[in-house]
Point group: C7
Chain length 81, copies 7
C-alpha cells in the first residue's frame, strides 16, 4: 500500500485549542474550545455551550465528555461557526 | 507533533476534592465533592445531591458511580455553582 | 501530581460487611449487607430487599448482582438508613 | 487492607448443584439447578422453568444462558424456594 | 474447592450435531442442528427454522448467528422436540 | 473430546465469493456476493441489494458492514436464492 | 485454506480519498471524501453533507465520526453518486 495512512484519532490531536462541536448520541451537542482529547474520544471542552434540540441550554466553564457517547466531532473551519 | 498532549482523564484527577456535577445518560445528575475518580470515570462523590429532571430528588453521604453510565463531568468554577 | 490518588473501586472494598444500596439502570434498587464486591462492581448482597419504583418488591437471602447493570452503589452512613 | 477479600464470582461457584433463580434484563427469569457457571455469569441450568412476568412460561431440560444478559442470580436458601 | 468445575461454554461443545434452539434478544428463535459453536456463542445451525413470536417464519440451509445477540441455547432432550 | 471442533467464524471464510444474506439488528438485510469477512463478522458485499421490511430499498456496488450490528449471515444454497 | 483471505477493514484503506457514504445506526448518513479511516471504522470525512431521513440537513468542512456508531460504509462507484 503506497499511500500514507493517517489515523483519524491522531488527526483529532491537531484540532487541540480549536473550536469544535461534539455531538452526542442523545440529541445533545457541545460547542467550545477543545482543551484535550484521547483515543477513545474522551474530550475536555472549555467555555462550552450545550445545545439541546438545536437551542442553547447550558454553559460550562470546563466539561469532560466521556468518549463512548460521542457520535462525531466537527472541526470548525474559519467560515462556519 | 510539537504541542504537548494532555490526556482528558489525567486532567480529571486535578479536580479531586472539588465540587463537580456528574451527568448520567438517563436524565440523572449528581452534584458533590469528587473524592475519587479513575480512568473509566468511576467516581466517588461525598455529600452529594441527586437531581432528576433538574429537581433535587435525593441526598447521598457517599456514592460510587459506575463510569460506563457517565455522560460528562462538569468541573465547577468559582462563579457557577 | 503531588496529591494521593485513591481509586474508587478500591474504596468500595472498605464498605464490605456494611449496609449498601445498589441501584440498577432499570429502576430497580437492592439494599442489604455487601458481602463481596469486585472491580467490575459485581456485588453479593445478603439479607437484601428489592425496591421497584421505591416500594419493597422482594426479599433475597443471597443475591449476586452483575456489575455491568449497576448505576451506582450508595454507602450508608449511620444516620441515613 | 486487613480484611479478607472474597470475589463475588468465586462465591458463585459454591452454589453449583444448588437451586438458583437467574433473572435476565428483559423481564425473564429462569429457575433450576445450576450445573455450571463461569466468570462472565454464563450459566447452565438443568430441569429449569422459565417465568415471564412472574408466570411459568416454558420448561427446559438443559439451557445455556449467556452471561451478558444476566441481571442477577439469586441463591436459594432452604426456606425460600 | 473440592468439587470439579465445568465451564458452561465447554459443555456446549458436547451438543455439537444435536438439535438445539437458539433464542435471540429480539423475540427470534432458531431451531436446527448445531454444526459449530465457539466461546462467544457464535453458532452455525444447519437445516434451521426461524420462529418469530412462536410461529415458523423462515427456513435456512445454513446460518451463522453472531454470539452477542444470543439470550440462551436450549439443548433438546429426546422427549422435548 | 474426540469430535473435531470447527470454529463458526472459520467456516464463514469458506463462503467467500458466494451469495450471502446479512441480517442486521434493525430490520435491515443485505444480499450480495461476500468479498471479504473477518472474525468480528465485518463483511464486504459487492453487487448488494438492501431490503428493508422485506422489500428492496437500495443497491450498493460495494459496501463494508460493521460486524457488531450483524444478527446473522445466511449462506445461500443452490436452491434457495 | 487455499483461497487468499482479504480483511474487510484493510480493504477500506483503499477507498481513502474517494467519495463514501457513512450510515450510522440512528437514521443519519454522511457523504463526503474519506480522508482517513482506522480498524474501528473511525472515519474522517471532508466536505461532507449530513442526510437525516434522506434529506440534506447540514454541511461539515471536516468531521470525525466515531466508529462504534457506524452501520456500514458504502464505497461510491463512478456511476452511482
Amino acid at each position: 500500500m503506497s499511500q500514507q495512512v493517517k489515523k483519524p484519532l491522531n488527526s483529532l490531536q491537531k484540532a487541540i485549542n480549536k473550536q469544535v462541536s461534539v455531538r452526542l448520541k442523545m440529541e445533545l451537542e457541545y460547542r467550545g474550545k477543545m482543551a484535550s482529547v484521547d483515543q477513545y474520544m474522551n474530550v475536555i471542552l472549555v467555555d462550552a455551550t450545550e445545545y439541546s434540540g438545536g437551542n442553547p441550554s447550558a454553559n460550562y466553564g470546563k466539561v469532560v465528555i466521556r468518549g463512548n457517547n460521542v457520535l462525531f466531532i466537527k472541526i470548525s473551519s474559519d467560515f462556519e461557526p
